[in-house]
Amino acid sequence: MNSTVVTSPTTDIHAALAQAARPQPSRWAQRLGWGLLLVVSGFALLGPWLISADPDRQDLLNALAPFGGHDWLGTDPYGRSMLARLAHGAQLSFLLALLTTLMAVVPGVLLGIVAAWRGGWLEKALVALADMIMALPGLLLVLLVIAFAPGHFIPLCLGLALALWVEFFRISRARSAVILQQPYIEATRMLGFGPGYILRRLLLPALAPTLLTLASFAMSTAIIGISTLSAISVGVRPPTAELGSMIVELLPYYAEAPALVLLPSLLIFLLVLALQLISGGRKS
């Protein structure tokens, strides 16, 4: 037998089988999510810049103006432009949620990787900390933090991030621990590569898809959290345009102008829906 025969690339029966047996899972839901996010975040980020009206300027003579007039989407009971308020509200929700998510992702992932890499007492201490946070339903913790200064942005974001980082920590730690156990990590070390290469080229790319899923879900949770807390008057407070507090504020005018309540609800719904579709229907 000649061991130096160059074999031609294998024809892969497994690939053909897999192809035939399982139709590719359709990605339309995720595409729809990205599309929606593009539209809603475009409105949230560019809207306040394009719309010249001041969201806080009252004009009581022009209260509850109907659709299609000077202010396009009409005005609220204080005569403030609904379009401008919606755009500013969406911008606030979007940016606060983004900030909250970043505040959760960065420490969560870094600590998760450090815990899996270092092990020992450091890992035990971090896990105990995470367990302590998980011992309480997230919203209760957020409310406790908010109690220090109700109505301010910082405790709101801080409280939400404090509840949300744990998931990033747990998943990054668990996944990293599995990956770091793999023979290819040992092989890479033996081939003379350092920890920087392993982190950059092997670990982070392997974590990235999961983290994107988690992050978009966390951001949807943050949006729900911010609007809910504002709606029960412990989050962002009027007169600042915030979608959740707008809904509650405008509810009494439902009979005269139903769109006033429905529009901010729709915005929240679309934003959350977009993010949840992107995260591919994570269950928790």
Binding site: D131, P137, A147, I232, V248, Y254, K283
Partner: protein
């Protein structure tokens, strides 16, 4: 012996969680009390005796009684010691003992939680039927509905239901408390969110079981139809569904807080939000602690159920 020690581990783990919850809540509330502007003794005295009867002497006697002139660390130890004895103190707003207030509110909240849990059970059979025919119209339809419901924050969902059943149809009172009709809307709001989650989880569990090697093998050995699903589908699918109730418990407790506030339902969550706005720290501590311990208790029940269903977790049947 092995079994009893397994149960011991479970109980110990949850007891530890209960201690952690108390420690976390107690510490944060202690910090909260001392972060408030002004003199805590004055605030407490005003709560106890009413703002009119409040005097410097009253404040001084409160200061003496509660040891508020002592070093911070000593006060902290004292606060935790009181907590360990279930001494939750008095409300700064009404002056009444926290425990008394909690008893009434907890009863109301438990009714709400129970009603919504029962209503939400409908999601499970729906999910199982959808999962048994994964890809069918019922599966697609229920999934789309579940995604839609989950994308609505509970307070928006609550307001929509209020609009539909109270304002449009006039069937149910929009808010308040008194009869079972007042319970129905908040319970329905919570139940919809819970059902959407359990429908999804049970659907995925059922679909996964059907893909499994043991389900395929059971078919190959000649079992069919309902017998097959009943004997090899349901119990296996129940394992992740029950494990997932832990996540549902988070949703339930958070939902109770939000929904009670929206519907002005006088439960413990409503009281908590009011206490936060009024900066009634002992009341905040009492309400958060009660809900936190309720969460631990629910988790303990779920642990027991998991062990009962899945022999690999070492339970008895």
């Amino acid at each position: 012996m092995l079994r009893s020690s397994l149960w011991g581990t479970v109980l110990l783990g949850r007891a530890l969680q209960a201690v952690l919850v108390s420690l976390l809540v107690g510490s944060l509330c202690f910090a909260l009390m001392h972060s408030l502007p002004g003199d805590p003794a004055m605030r407490i005295a005003a709560g106890r005796y009413g703002p009119d009867a409040m005097s410097l002497q009253a404040a001084e006697s409160v200061r003496q009684e509660l040891g508020l002139e002592q070093p911070l660390l000593q006060q902290y130890g004292r606060a935790l010691w009181q907590l360990a004895q279930f001494d939750l103190g008095h409300s700064l707003v009404t002056g009444r003992p926290i425990l008394e207030e909690l008893q009434v509110q907890l009863g109301h909240s438990l009714w709400l939680a129970l009603a919504s849990l029962l209503l939400s059970l409908l999601g499970i059979p729906l999910g199982i039927i959808a999962g048994a025919r994964a890809g069918g119209w019922l599966d697609r339809g229920s999934q789309a509905l579940a995604i839609g419901v989950r994308a609505l924050p509970p307070f928006v969902l609550g307001l929509l239901l209020m609009w539909l059943f109270s304002i449009q149809l006039g069937w149910l009172p929009p808010a308040g408390f008194g009869s079972w009709q007042h319970l129905l809307l908040p319970a329905l709001t919570l139940a919809l969110g819970l059902a959407a989650l359990s429908c999804r989880v049970s659907r995925d569990a059922m679909a996964e079981v059907q893909q499994s090697a043991y389900f395929t093998f059971a078919r190959h050995k000649g079992l069919r139809g309902l017998t097959l699903i009943q004997r090899h589908g349901l119990r296996n699918a129940a394992i992740p569904v029950v494990a997932y109730l832990g996540v549902q418990a988070v949703y339930l407790i958070e939902g109770v807080v939000v929904v009670e506030s929206i519907f002005a339902y006088p439960g413990i969550g409503h009281a908590m939000v009011h206490a936060i706005i009024a900066r009634d720290v002992p009341m905040v501590q009492g309400t958060v602690l009660t809900l936190g311990l309720l969460f631990v208790l629910i988790n303990l029940l779920i642990d027991a159920a998991c062990r009962w269903i899945d022999p690999r977790q070492g339970g008895t049947r």
